[in-house]
């Protein structure tokens, strides 16, 4: 219906969010809007993150579809016909702002449709829901088409919001929305990419929702090159490749990259021969996006020629709870090895201090990202002592967003997104960093 004379308010859209990762909503939505070059109304970032219904004015339903086509947190998007604090208010809004001829194609004569009633933070009975549908005034809603519960051409939806806390939910909704369902977000992918069926799995494989969300934060898309310096079993490469990015990574753990170590699944005795990052991509038909995974020490950025330029670095650095951070080195004063020692020698590793991990990572990003390329990584924090100054800084990298995932009452991890703003003049920069 783009270009239809439905007026300004014919272009209202309602996004309903899933009830998790609230702190990531603004950041993800913003990254996706950026990715598609969709301009959102100014000040939208101050929307209430506890309210799962966000209304936007967009220039067309195509924009709403684009936003939903990438979002891991959006459940669905509606073309909003009306809203109100009560049903009569909602009816009045529809009457005032949505012309009948804009509704007729979806529920009038010749169309088949059904109406769904969705309630947030309060369970309602089927009778209640049917009643809400039967109450719809026919002078407002031209519901003359054929009702078809199984194969409707169009789905209309009533959304009731009972507030932020289901324990204190009022009897009647505090907000009612009416609209036409356009499209769902990408929640289905949580199942498609679920780790239970992942061929090659490690202790720290990232869950699919957060992996895909990280790819969104990094604006991964067709023809981009994405790098993970702490690649592990490649769960972040899977999500980046799913967006059409070509992917590569390194890990210091030879045994893991060659799938020779102990499996992470409780019931599995031995890693199977075909376990590899490449085959993780193959499992989802993404093998054409695989470039390479190397055994290498991420603290040594001179491994790469300065011509290497990546569009995004997406990573979950090791911070010691499940996989301790290691880099090559020795604590001995004289680490020299004899020739005999060298044959089949497994290089000694030393603890890699957390502040060094992040300093090296930011330096790596400043060096190899393209301008406007993004670094997306997790930073562990001890919540009672956390303040924004804990976020590592770099003169070439600008902080884009900082979202918290609480792991328990004291420990959180924060998803940090930075964007390269200018070329690195000095090769290595020692950062002021007072992390955990």
């Amino acid at each position: 219906m783009s270009g239809s004379p439905c007026g300004r308010l014919g272009k209202r859209f309602l996004f309903q969010f899933a009830n998790e990762h609230l702190d990531f909503r603004v950041a993800e939505f913003s990254a996706i809007a950026d990715l598609f070059g969709i301009k959102l109304e100014s000040g939208w970032q101050s929307k209430n993150i506890k309210d799962p219904f966000w209304e936007f004015q967009l220039s067309s339903s195509t924009d709403a579809e684009k936003l939903a086509s990438r979002s891991m947190l959006v459940k669905s998007a509606l073309e909003l016909w009306g809203k109100g604090a009560t049903y009569p208010e909602m009816y009045e809004d529809v009457r005032q702002n949505t012309a009948k001829h804009c509704m007729i194609p979806f529920c009038g004569n010749g169309a088949s449709f059904k109406i769904k009633v969705d309630t947030y933070n309060k369970k309602q009975t089927q009778e209640y829901k049917v009643q809400r549908i039967n109450d719809l005034p026919l002078d407002v809603f031209p519901l003359e088409g054929k009702i078809d519960l199984k194969n409707a051409d169009h789905i209309l939806q009533i959304c009731e919001n009972y507030g932020e806390d289901h324990n204190t939910a009022p009897d009647t909704p505090c907000m009612v929305y009416f609209g036409r369902w356009l499209v769902d977000g990408q929640r289905e992918k949580i199942k498609t990419y679920n780790l239970k069926e992942r061929l090659f799995l490690g202790h720290t494989s990232m869950d699919p929702c957060l992996s895909l969300l990280m790819a969104n934060m990094g604006k991964c898309c067709k023809n981009t090159l994405v790098f993970d310096p702490f690649v592990g079993t490649g769960s972040l490469l899977v999500s980046a490749a799913q967006c059409g990015s070509y992917v590569m990574g390194t890990d210091i753990d030879y045994i893991l990259l060659h799938a020779q170590g102990k499996p992470s699944r409780a019931k599995q005795k031995k890693r199977s021969k075909d376990e590899s990052i490449r085959n993780n991509l193959l499992q989802y038909g993404l093998q054409q996006f695989y470039i390479d995974a190397l055994v290498a020490d991420a603290s040594k950025s001179s491994l790469w020629d300065s011509r290497l330029q990546v569009d995004a670095i997406i990573t979950d650095p090791p911070y010691g709870v499940r996989e301790g951070a290691k880099k090559l080195g020795s604590e001995k004063n004289d680490p020299s090895l004899t020739e005999e020692d060298k044959d089949g020698h497994v290089p000694q590793k030393i603890d890699y201090h957390l502040s060094d991990v992040f300093r090296d990572l930011l330096n790596f990003a400043a060096r190899f990202l393209r301008i406007e390329g993004r670094l997306v990584y997790w930073l562990p924090v001890y919540s009672p002592e956390y303040c924004e100054e804990n976020i590592p800084r770099h003169p070439c990298l600008q902080l884009v967003s900082n979202c918290e995932q609480k792991l328990n009452s004291r420990i959180s991890r924060r998803l940090i997104t930075m964007e390269k703003c200018h070329e690195c003049q000095v090769r290595l920069i020692t950062l002021c960093f007072s992390g955990v």
Binding site: L303, D305, P347
Partner: protein, 124 residues
């Protein structure tokens, strides 16, 4: 290991080495694994590629045929050239062999397609 990766790899991580590029490839097993041709991605990568290092690497692993000595003019509009570059960068893979540092001769093994770029603790 794809030759795209090889094109960016150096051995300058070794203490004292400053001209660790390009790494010489001593291949024992090389595969050509089909990858969907994407002219846009090849075109995007081309300006970043050290072409002479790519030619040498491709010849060293026995897949140098069909690659011109230099990047042609307007490569983006020459599909034949892009396909040859795509093959060399994305499809030719060293499965077994080693990479050799041109300055120190230090060798890095490649097993099962995965280069091992780790140094010993006395080399860092």
């Amino acid at each position: 290991m794809k030759l795209l990766t090889h094109n960016f790899l150096t051995s300058n991580i070794i203490k004292g080495v400053t001209k660790g590029y390009p790494l010489q490839i001593m291949a024992e097993k090389v595969d050509v694994k089909e990858v969907e041709f994407n002219p846009d991605f090849v075109t995007k990568m081309l300006p970043k590629i050290d072409w002479s290092a790519l030619i040498k690497a491709a010849k060293d692993v026995g897949h140098g045929d069909g690659l011109p000595e230099a990047v042609i003019e307007n490569p983006e509009s020459n599909e034949e050239f892009l396909k040859a570059a795509h093959n060399a960068l994305m499809q030719v893979e060293v499965i077994e062999g080693k990479l050799v540092c041109p300055e120190s001769q230090r060798e890095f093994p490649i097993n099962n397609g995965i280069p091992n770029m780790l140094l010993n603790e006395d080399e860092v």
